[in-house]
Amino acid sequence: MSESVRTTRVPVVERVLEVNDQLAATTRADLERRGILAVDIIGAPGSGKTALLEATLRALKGRRHPAVLVGDLATRRDGDRLARWCDQVVQISTGQGCHLDAGQIRDALMQVDLSEVDLLLIENVGNLICPVGFDLGQAAKVGVFAVTDGDDKAAKHPYLVQAADVLLLNKIDLLPYVSFDGPLFQADVRLLNPTVPILEVSSTTGAGLDAWLDWLDRKSADGGASTPIA
């Protein structure tokens, strides 16, 4: 006699990415306990994330003990580039996935000897949108823009600009060859995020890298006070 059907609306208020966020929180606690500063580097394909890491690893040689996790859709090329500068590099192949998630980070960390590590550099999949919303357990998010990608990219990617703890404007050595309105870029960033530092760098010439290395040192000294997205 079950002809009649009753329709019920069940209220549930829970974050959709709750499972990811919990894994990330566990990672964040593990890394903080070990005194490891973890940074999630997010930027468009080709903006220079790997080049920045190469320059960073070269500069930190003998001074810090970094490990690198690098996400890529298909190849191992970035991992191979970085392995020349750091003996703890784990390449994470995401296949179709346009961003890293907290589970992939935990799996990758299983392959790292964390006992000596004091800095964890994570290169996310080249993408300005998708990675921003997935907490990895990082202490800080780093947004990378390149002058060759156009001065409107901050305005078009408000989530990254708002969520970033520091923004790098890369490839400034190419400014003479492209039209890039620096003041406009800065103004757009400031509207979305009044306080984020904007560091102008060239990963290939090394210009401006000292400010970035200082930022990393200061962030480490802070104990990498965490900024989970919320």
């Binding site: 059907v5 329709t7 549930v12 829970e14 974050r15 959709v16 996935g97 998708c130 919303g133």
Partner: protein, 119 residues
């Protein structure tokens, strides 16, 4: 297409919360403007992810929260689907703010009366 991974997480979450024996008709999520979620991509992903599962045929409803804009010149505040907008007073740089919430809000289910009475 982060919409696809969000749809996957959401489907697992709905299956955890839906009452046993009910058929899920509708799922409602609330999304802050910062997420930049594409409603069409989100709905397509939902259909693809739920196809051939107990959630097949359920409708995803999106409550997209807008940007809030505050004009530094005249003090007017208003809501908009986009972050950059010129104020009526001519000011070109109103300050945009938005949330990044991404929450499951409710699940609507059909239950047979007899089944429901047993519960």
């Amino acid at each position: 297409m982060h919409e696809f991974s969000i749809a996957e997480a959401l489907a697992a979450q709905v299956l955890r919360h839906a009452p046993v024996g009910g058929r899920v008709r509708e799922v409602e999520i609330r999304v802050g403007a910062l997420r930049g979620l594409e409603p069409e991509a989100m709905k397509m992903s939902w259909d693809a992810v739920t196809h051939d599962t107990p959630l097949a045929g359920s409708v995803l409803r999106l409550d997209l929260r807008p940007w809030s804009l505050v004009c530094p010149a005249c003090g007017r505040t208003w809501e908009s689907p986009v972050p950059f907008e010129t104020c009526r007073c001519g000011e070109t740089s109103p300050r945009p703010t938005a949330g990044d919430e991404l929450n499951l809000m409710s699940i609507t289910v059909d239950e047979d009366e007899t089944t429901a009475e047993e519960a």
